[in-house]
Symmetry: C2
Subunit: 405 residues, 2 copies
């Protein structure tokens, strides 16, 4: 079977705008995704603590993330290939985006060494020597069978000087070309592709995987612009902004997003990687970003932090010990419908598994519901109002605390 | 409001028999429970890793356990009372049985000291000195508002000699009387009762809590008989066999259950505390036991052990690494419908939360489904056949392993 068809692997239609903000429809071989969209992070083939039924039925998540680095090391690409690809392996029939492993390798710090050919590093699991390159990342992502494959990139530190950031950006550009070439070979020959999706004849998409390029360049506007133009020149199905939220000042991130967002191709999805808080998502949408992922709702849920319409809550605080109200009184999620702050606090204080399960669920529900409201407000022309009210609301707890004498 | 009514707090009707085995209907103020029944253990107000929606909708668990000892220490009876009782606190509207704390205090070993008045011990949480007595246990269980309250008992070691077991049994009898008296005072005056259930006028039960007595006596038949007759003399709504599965030989347990089961009052529920494996449950049913609880399905689920119709599986074993079959091919649970052994193994090896969540779910599904099949077989007169086939089936994996050269 080959994928030499005239249909694209994904389609993307902007259906409404409000300033730079856009509401769109992203069609993949495994379903339609309304944008702006937040993608829950499923690093090792599981959104930590979440059953897939809850992701589907309660949260209606249309796309989740998997990580090439983690899955490649454990259980290994061969295991997942033998089990029919990542969808079948984990039991998820909706869309998947897989990160290329570039960022995870970069996160290893001193454990990795970057060369032209690729990245040498030691596994965080057992210290064994490993090597990842654009070609290997494409092969692994073909075995995983994700709908959206990310190019293998190199990330510079958020505060890297111009020359370091330039080197890194140029390497990313060369790796992007190698990713593109290898990806095309794999797709055109359907080599090593475990999972061909569920596309039926007559659909608007081809059934192949899509490939996104990643813009790097650190905090330097000129490098970011150059990276964007070199990435677009190669040509991808979508474009991501990488290398942000990696220790730089928040103002630096917003400068980059504000400058870059509107310059990215208008007819393709724009993905801001690894960002962020609910207010960050709304802010980034205002600069034209369509897609997001972040570990905050899941990771912080496991440490007792809840995101709510009135701001962040540390559910372990004694103030909630007798509070029979739901986490967020304006939330409709199954956790808020059933459980009280007092109970959730008790679960957290007792180190109960269910604490992580329920807080993660609520946090994801809040993130996904926020994006639903963002989309609605863009479509109905009230995004500016929504943004102001939403951001104001998030300050409620802080303001209440400030009033305590 | 008082509970001086002529209605009993629970009713129990045996609707079918097969030898000593019985199928019955236990009616509580919070719903009807078909027996024999397995009650999932919710020690600290949560069946570890299980959402209540799954307990209700997927597993149809009609009754779960809470532990007086754990809940009394954390979050404390006053917190639960202030939140409207245990049902409202945890968000569960079906029936609850609460253990008295006697067994947990006994489990503390050297950290506790038993006197006529009660048990002095140090909290496993912070080492603080604590004191629990029949009266305090009844007060706490009234605050919790469980449908079935257990008398405060003293447990002897499984291998205790006759004189030690006699002392323990006699103390249990005196504590049973004190439990009964305090319980009756609390119920008749509705003192300190946080939750009065959901009984409507016209129902067959009173809306009060029910109290079960506990038979002790270690491994000694004469002491067990004496304990039973003294407990029945005081008079309870149901009777439990305590102090088994605490380190004695399995043959000792079966001797006690086989002798005691058929001698227990026929028109009231019989509860074998803390037992056991699937084969234990079926065996105990054959001696006339109606109710069970055990941490095995939940605790072992968290360490990678699955209970299946073909026996126990350690899902971490390498043999499952590429196995795309469900845990148990004859299981209809949502985990077996969706996930493979290979994926569950991956989750376990990766220390993922979802491993505990999914294995716990399957294990409870298997236990509850086994009890459903037990009830069906008793009602349709095939219990003996069912028991033989079920027990044979459990040996399948062991027999396969034995065949490997």
């Amino acid at each position: 079977m080959t994928y030499r068809t005239n249909k694209p692997p994904i389609t993307f239609d902007v259906i409404a705008r409000s300033g730079q903000a856009r509401a769109g429809i992203l069609t993949t071989r495994r379903g339609i995704i309304e944008t702006p969209v937040f993608m829950p992070v499923g690093t090792a083939g599981t959104v930590k603590g979440m059953r897939f039924e809850a992701l589907e039925d309660d949260l209606d998540a249309r796309i989740i993330l998997g990580n090439t680095y983690h899955l490649w090391l454990r259980p290994g690409a061969e295991v997942i290939r033998a089990c029919g690809g990542l969808h079948r392996f984990i039991g998820w029939e909706r869309a998947l985006l897989t990160d290329s492993g570039g960022f995870q390798v970069w996160s290893l710090g001193n454990l990795r060494k970057i060369a032209e050919e690729g990245a040498s590093f030691r596994s965080h699991l057992d210290g064994s020597p490993q090597f990842l390159s654009p070609e290997i990342s494409m092969e692994v992502q073909a075995a995983l069978g994700s709908e959206i494959v990310m190019a293998f990139d190199e990330c510079a530190a958020g505060d890297a000087p111009h020359d370091v950031s330039r080197q890194s950006m140029e390497l990313t550009a060369r790796w992007a070309k190698r990713s593109r070439d290898k990806f095309d070979t794999l797709q055109s020959e359907a080599i090593d592709i475990a999972d061909t999706g569920r596309t039926e004849p007559g659909e608007t998409v081809s059934g192949a995987q899509a490939l996104f390029g990643i813009v790097q360049g650190g905090s330097h506007s000129d490098l970011r612009r150059e990276s964007l133009s070199r990435t677009v020149e190669i040509g991808f199905d979508g474009y991501a902004i990488g290398g942000l939220s990696v220790g730089e000042e928040k103002s630096v991130m917003w400068k980059v997003v504000a400058e870059l967002g509107p310059e990215m191709p208008t007819n393709q999805p724009r993905y801001l990687m690894g960002v962020g808080t609910p207010e960050d998502l709304v802010e980034a949408v205002s600069h034209g970003v369509d897609m997001f992922d972040c570990v905050l709702p899941t990771r912080n849920g496991r440490t007792g932090q809840a995101f709510t319409s009135r701001g962040k809550m540390n559910i372990k605080n004694a103030q909630w010990a007798l509070d029979t109200k739901p986490l967020d009184e304006s939330c409709e999620c199954s956790v808020c419908k059933r459980h009280s702050r007092a109970y959730l606090r008790h679960l957290c204080m007792s180190g109960e598994l269910l604490a992580s399960v329920l807080l993660t669920h609520h946090n994801l529900a809040f993130f996904l519901d926020t994006m639903r409201r963002v989309r609605q407000s863009i479509r109905s022309g009230y995004f500016t109002n929504f943004r102001r009210e939403f951001t104001e609301g998030l300050k409620a707890y802080e303001e209440e605390k400030a009033l305590i004498p």
